[in-house]
Symmetry: C2
Subunit: 212 residues, 2 copies
């Protein structure tokens, strides 16, 4: 039985266990079980937290034997929704958008960018990896025709909120935002943000403080 609402932090850690299990199953041909102690060593999460997190999914390890690696990996994938393909729209064909487009890690996890949008005339119509950059005004049709479920926002700061509003109006329910702004979205929309500028500012603040 899977618990209905798994806490945020547990979701984050499940993603980390999953990655380690994948690695462990490649590296240890022939080995089928992993203990919470091994998983703890590999992921640097405490064994107690691991057992608690996995019990959230109804996964019980066997005493002294541990968890079956493949079965655990499949369970986590199924809980996280990583056992299926997701269709993703990328909004913003600037240099960050291009970097994200070229990054094959998304596809490896099952997230495929199937449409790219921008509002700049010079970009619209060009092709990136066989995908034609489209006018942002066509996003609504695309979301329904191409059954797009997730959007990545990689537009400039000042148009990020308008872009999010448009995506939500088009039926998008989950957004990964790379624009350096706190976006406002309704409660029924899932928003995650990655702000590289803020990460860098934290590093430079730390280094500056040391020499100040």
């Amino acid at each position: 039985m899977i618990k209905k609402n798994i806490p945020q932090k547990t979701i984050d850690r499940l993603a980390i266990y999953r990655r380690y299990l994948e690695y462990a199953s490649e590296e240890t041909a022939g080995r089928h079980f992993i203990t919470s102690a091994d998983l703890s060593k590999g992921t640097q999460v405490s064994a107690a937290a691991i057992r608690r997190d996995l019990s959230c999914m109804g996964q019980l390890g066997r005493r002294k034997i541990g968890y079956n690696i493949d079965r655990l990996c499949n369970s986590i994938n199924s809980v996280l929704g990583l056992n299926k393909k997701w269709r993703v729209a990328l909004v913003g064909a600037g240099n960050l958008g291009k970097a994200l487009m070229m990054y094959r890690g998304f596809r490896k996890l099952g997230f495929e960018i199937v449409a790219v949008f921008d509002n700049a005339r010079l970009k619209i119509g060009k092709k990136w990896l066989e995908i034609k950059i489209q006018d942002i005004r066509h996003i609504k049709d695309n979301v329904s025709n191409k059954r797009i479920e997730i959007a990545i926002i990689a537009v400039p700061f000042k148009v990020a909120q308008a872009t999010a509003d448009l995506l939500i109006e088009s039926g998008i329910k989950a957004i990964l935002n790379f624009a350096p702004i706190g976006l406002k979205v309704p409660d029924n929309i899932k928003l995650r943000s990655v702000d590289l500028a803020t990460e860098l500012a934290n590093l430079s603040y730390f280094l500056t403080k040391k020499i100040r």
Copy 2:
């Protein structure tokens, strides 16, 4: 006067204000002042939090007039250490590393990738944007010769901790980690992590839960 230890959340918000001020100063030619109410509208942070954050830096707005945009922007840059150039090493010349290399946003903020490292023979010696990919074993010499201050880790999961250890041994004090693992570093090292896989897993968990 600048407070010695500014809280993490304030640093994050200062980075956001800074971005908005830059935009505001471009957009509003001739306008020199901004109120905390305007800044609040633009950044979606409450005006009270803004005033508190800015007072951390000893910046006081003038009643009814607000803050001088250029002066405030300069103060934030100076607190965050964004008024100087930082020399960055990129470790990991895979597809994520390439995306980060191509992303010009780092340079715009003053972070310049001056060296790239990998351990794969096939990659070593190749050039990315005029920078030759070097053997990871040469990192220590580079850190001192090129006065590298910050490293970006974009290596696979399983070698990420060893990479971090090597970087720290080489004298690096600040690390931006893109490998999906919680790295262990000493207290005197600043580590920030961006885990795209975990962000995506959160979105897919949310969408899966809705249809489960």
